[in-house]
Symmetry: C2
């Protein structure tokens, strides 16, 4: 048992170390330049002093935000863990099992803290690297491209590997810690243990919600606020050093896109693993294996993913490095493709090695087997491999489709850019249509995954598909974190008033970063959808409905289905309005500063600097304040529904929320990404318009056409960075809350809720449970 897991853990550690060394060497490289500048660098240009100054302001701002956010999160964790402990301890009408409650609460706390640490770590690395990336971009020619790209990409790698490694280790540690207490080699013990471990996923996801929502509001309040302020006050370009909101904007990129994304994907991993463990624990063959290899197969997928991703890292940074602008997207795509391919190759033998030759998943003892695929599923390692492979390839293809729709190398985004010719309105119309259109293939792929996973191995298969999609997580995260680092690097270059060529380089890196961010979001959404379905399956299994299925043709079911599908809209509306409100506060502050700080607007030499700290404080306060209502909505909906209307209503809410959120999330992310890149395409001077004499004139920065493009970008900001990605968490969090509190819901009127909603099925489940309890008491 230990061999496999220790191998994984060792690999995780090893590759974290490798990544860390790379950074040190990297940091060494740049920090040499860096030290030269900081310490005794009187002979250096003042622009490099400026870089460090900006770098430090960003670091302080990021730290201040995380500190404030984590204080809130800590309080929330403390309070909510008590609730989790008490509620999950209630296993029947008036019956309590304190061990279950305690363990769940502890796992919940550990998950929350791990999520916080991974968010903090990623963000610090990102903040640490942005200035280094700017400096690296000052080199000329291919070397400059390579240095700046590698810096950003490796920093991403540190985040990717440390997060996945840590997540895996902690989970493994938890399982080992409790395995004796719960007698993991008995089915009952394994079920109980895995159900408690689900608290780990809940903890991770709860923090992820606050990270995503809070971070999303922070970053977009600052971004939209900075854009609008420049527009309202005077025609100040984005990232102009005089604009006091720019530092907050740069902090925001780290807060939202790095820390938020990290927590989000950590949550996905934790939840997918928990879902697979919960469903797997119902399989007698998997549990019976004393080495625990079979049961822990879900963790093996992730462990292999870490090793493969680590191997392919060298491909991008050393074997075929970025030498010119055209290489960037190509390298990132090859990276993703190769990782997926290698993962597919290693997964087949791994499945044979770790899984028993045949095992059973699904209901057996409870009867009524026709509902869920005969008498459950007889699964072979090959079936399991197919599920994982389906997830792997679906993720990869979704990534490429997302790239097709959001990169300005392809038709769709160029069309959106061209639509700016007739103004902002047509830009918006085309962008929205693009977002809707971009749902088609990803949704087909996701549903193909669901079909393959489900028909091979039931909900276990869906969970494996989700883990497969997350198999390339380390690579994806590296690609993903790369984006905001480049964005920041560009911002620093602009603020430090560096040469045009640096800015051009960081812009090109950033444009690729927008696309990769969209790819990352595609992955995050796809895996979130699969994870949610798997968790839903865990919930069904745990509440005893598995043998009966969830029939939507019931009054409470269809009604809750409609309401569930509405929740993502409600959530989106809340977060969008929050961004609007916070951005307005920011605009007012900027106006106030321009009005009160003498010489700032005019740029008189020697004028007082803008007060960045106040802007950072506004973003921080607003995001912490505004993240509460959406958080309450998402957390309370499944709990209240379960308590008041019962388990079947929860099923409806979950189903509705999943099918609705996945579409909204994809369309919002891609619309926003396309607008952003359409703007970049216009700025590159690639859009031409016919004038009255039929000549085609380039319309670049500063033209009416560019203004229309900027309008689209501003609208897209809250969509792609606040509400869109947060919708992942809406699905996942609701599903894991349902899973963790399943027994509690079942304890209220046999799962019929406070209103005791009529349900023949739940009456039947209650009879079955009573019979099972009586039978076990007899022995």
């Amino acid at each position: 048992m230990l061999t496999g897991m220790f191998g994984c853990a060792f690999a995780a550690w090893l590759f974290m170390k490798v990544a860390a060394i790379q950074l040190k060497r990297d940091g060494g490289d740049t920090s040499k330049t860096f030290k030269r500048m900081t310490g005794e660098s009187t002979q250096e240009t003042s622009s490099e002093d400026r870089i460090i100054e900006i770098y430090e302001m960003i670091r302080e701002g990021a730290r201040a935000f995380l500190k404030a956010e984590y204080q809130m999160c800590a309080i929330f964790l403390a309070v909510f863990s008590v609730l989790v402990g008490v509620l999950t301890a209630r296993v029947g009408n008036g019956k309590y099992e304190s061990q279950i409650g305690m363990t769940t609460a502890i796992c919940f706390l550990v998950g929350g803290v791990t999520s916080m640490i991974s968010g903090y770590l990623g963000m610090m690395v990102a903040v640490f690297s942005n200035a280094r990336c700017t400096i690296a971009a000052r080199h000329d020619g291919p070397a400059g491209w390579m240095a700046s790209f590698n810096t950003a990409f490796r920093a991403g790698g540190v985040m990717g590997f440390s997060l996945t490694g840590m997540a895996l280790l902690v989970l493994y540690f938890l399982i080992n810690l409790y395995q004796n207490e719960f007698e993991i080699t008995t089915t009952g013990g394994a079920i109980k243990l895995t159900e408690c471990i689900a608290g780990y996923g809940l903890g991770g996801s709860t923090i992820a919600l606050f990270g995503r929502v809070g971070g999303g509001i922070y970053t977009k309040a600052a971004d939209v606020g900075a854009d609008l302020a420049g527009k309202v006050v005077e025609n100040i370009p984005e990232d102009d050093p005089r604009n006091p909101a720019t530092i907050a904007d740069n902090v925001g990129d780290n807060v939202g896109d790095v820390a938020g994304m990290g927590s989000d994907l950590f949550g996905s991993f934790a939840e997918a693993s928990c879902a697979a463990l919960v469903v797997g624990a119902h399989s007698p063959e998997l549990v019976a294996d004393p080495t625990m290899n079979g049961l822990l197969f879900p963790l093996v997928i992730t462990a292999l993913g870490i090793m493969v991703s680590a191997g392919t890292m060298f491909l991008a940074t050393n074997v075929s490095p970025v030498m010119a602008e055209a290489d960037i997207e190509k390298v990132l795509k090859v990276q993703l493709g190769v990782t997926t391919l290698l993962m597919t190759l290693v997964m087949r033998p791994a499945a044979s090695a770790y899984l028993p030759a045949a095992f059973h998943i699904g209901p057996g003892k409870l009867g009524a087997p026709e509902i869920l695929g005969g008498a459950g599923w007889d699964v072979t390692p090959n079936d399991a491999f197919q599920c994982v492979a389906a997830g792997l390839w679906a993720g990869c293809i979704i990534g490429f489709i997302t790239e097709y729709y959001t990169s300005h190398s392809y038709g769709p985004t160029r069309e959106v850019a061209q639509a700016c010719e007739t103004g902002a309105a047509t830009n918006i119309i085309h962008g929205l249509a693009l977002g809707y259109l971009s749902c088609i293939f990803p949704v087909f792929l996701i549903s193909a995954c669901v079909f393959v996973g489900f028909s091979r191995a039931g909900m276990y298969g869906v969970a494996l598909a989700a883990l497969g999609m997350l198999g390339t997580l380390a690579t994806c995260l590296s690609i993903d974190v790369y984006g905001p680092i480049c964005d920041n690097a560009g911002g620093i270059a602009e603020m430090a008033e560096l040469e045009e060529s640096v800015r051009d380089k960081t812009d090109a890196l950033d444009a690729a970063g927008n696309t990769t961010a969209a790819i990352g979001k595609g992955f995050a959404i796809g895996s979130a959808c699969l994870v949610s379905i798997a968790l839903f399956g865990g919930f069904i299994t745990r509440s005893g409905l598995e043998a009966h299925g969830f029939n939507v043709l019931k009054p409470i079911a269809f009604a809750s289905l409609l309401v569930g599908a509405m929740i993502p809209y409600w959530f989106t509306a809340m977060t969008m309005k929050s961004v609007g409100i916070a951005a307005m506060e920011m605009v007012k502050e900027v106006k106030f500063q321009f009005a009160t700080i003498p010489g700032l607007l005019e740029g008189t030499p020697g004028h007082a600097p803008p007060d960045h700290a106040r802007c950072i404080k506004i973003s921080t306060d607003a995001s912490l304040r505004e993240m509460v209502p959406p958080g309450v909505l998402v957390i309370s909906t499944p709990i209240l529904t379960g308590v008041i209307f019962g388990v079947e209503a929860v099923c409806g809410i979950l189903t509705g929320a999943i099918v609705s959120a996945v579409q909204l999330a994809i369309s919002q992310s891609n619309t926003g990404g396309a607008w952003d890149n359409a703007k970049k395409y216009v700025e590159k001077g690639c859009v031409k318009v016919e004038d009255s004499e039929g000549r085609r004139i380039v319309q670049g920065k500063g033209t009416e056409l560019h203004k229309a493009a900027v309008c689209g970008d501003t609208v897209g900001d809250p969509l792609k960075d606040t509400s869109g990605p947060a919708l992942n968490i809406v699905m996942k969090l609701q599903a894991i809350i349902a899973l963790v509190f399943a027994d509690f819901f079942m304890s209220v009127n046999d799962g019929k809720g406070y209103f005791n909603v009529h349900s023949a099925v739940l009456d039947q489940v209650a009879r079955e449970r009573a019979a099972a309890a009586a039978a076990s008491a007899r022995f």
Copy 2:
């Protein structure tokens, strides 16, 4: 039996007559003025000549479009009816029943033709009244308000009553025609007949799809095109007489909002009635009644609705007429409230009079009764009344909520208007958030309706709730058609360059019209959702799945659920892009005309008139061409799914499409409505902005703020008038296609489709069917 129905029919005819007389009197009034102007009116002002000229151009344009559209529809009907006839005749593996096929195909044709007639009728009335409304608005003071409002409102009434009356009569006629052929007093006969009658709904809905999509593309291509052309070419105001696209714009209002809306609601009525009939035919008590009163109760609801609505018409036009601008919205709201109240009062005795004291709905003979609410539902007249009342009041409240979100008398729209202060981007962000937010309560209400209807009387109850919501259809349609007439009247006033006061009046009428249009859309969406669920219930009943329910926790089910929820996005993307393409063609044509017609742009006295006909042709051609792909998507999805993947996949597609489309439709309609009225609010000079000295300055027409508001309006146009309302039909049409082709789907591998997708439930259904067939053969 005849008493009740003839009473209804008579009432329908009578009130159509009343409405027609009113129009004649009205027409008399204005046509006096009118004749004075047309014939020998050399002493009249030239502006009145101009009105008539414009009026005639609009009429010709509308007629030309409908002619072209109906030619296409006729061909489609002919071809598709053969398909319907052949496919529905196939009742088992290789078994055909030609009578069923024939009857369904005939009902389909009748439904299609009725829908076309009602669209044509409504449009001709609307076109007939717009100029009269303009003329009426030339009167000063309260009399002018009253005359212009009443003209528009009565014209709406003509549409409302003729459509509902005709729909009811034709349906009644069809039932009577076939009642002997099918032995309606036996359960088997009643089931067969009602299933054939469902073809009527299918016909109506198919034409409605083309009407809505084609009309929607037409109207918005013209509208957006006209707006953009003015912007691109020169700063020409909307509806400027020099702009050659304005006539097409005005034609479009009639084509899309009147003919399209009419067909849509006709379809809803026809389908809701068919759903209620199909489910009702499975109740032995309802069928056994020789007077057919019980079976035809669904028609009684509509009949009473016509009479009540007719009574309340006098309220608005005579008892408390519109005297000033502030009255308009109030009068329209009172109208709706009073109709709902009266309907509630008359429905309770009607239910007792027509329904048997107790009857049974739902599965009984097929066993496994625990799945669908015990052994079905034992329904009393009071239960039926509760279902209808739930629908009635939910509709009314949804109407008011919609008004709250879209009228500029309330906070939400004013907030959107104020958000224009910081530019188009914040306007769009706030508008989108408003749309998402406005889903919350309507969805709660709809799901409450589903819950009440379903728990009282199963799918019969849901169908009754839908009919209840459509009970005030005549009033709603009147209110609804009123809007585009006012819009047109305003357009005519502008083009004829009438006095400012006329334009002010028509603008105020039109602003109320935007709100009422949103109310109408709220109704249309709510009822479409209920209708779709009821049709889905009919499909389930017909395919024998009723006793087993639809369990989403199956591979094919969840996969198709996700795909189904994506269809509305795909559809929206298609229609939005179509509008974009058609609008661009229009812009090019306008630019071309300004460049080639000398003196047009400069407005030189005596310049050649713009070529309106070419613009009309562009809109017509574009809309006919562009409506085909979305139409194919919607029609082919359920058919192909059913044939290839089987019945359970169809269930998934329907469920997904319903839950997703209802949210999208509500948010799109309300977002668009709010943007339109926010623009009007800005134009009224109600939005103030603080200048640098802290003074609050009005920002009206022509300012940057107004431009931002116009941008929102343009984005909203395709959302609120093309894709949003067409989504209703996406839900309904898919559901009724499933219902009509249910037996055909079941004939392909026992409903498991060409791929023979594994399904224990469908195997069980096949065994039950075989047993039932064997049992009936034995007797």
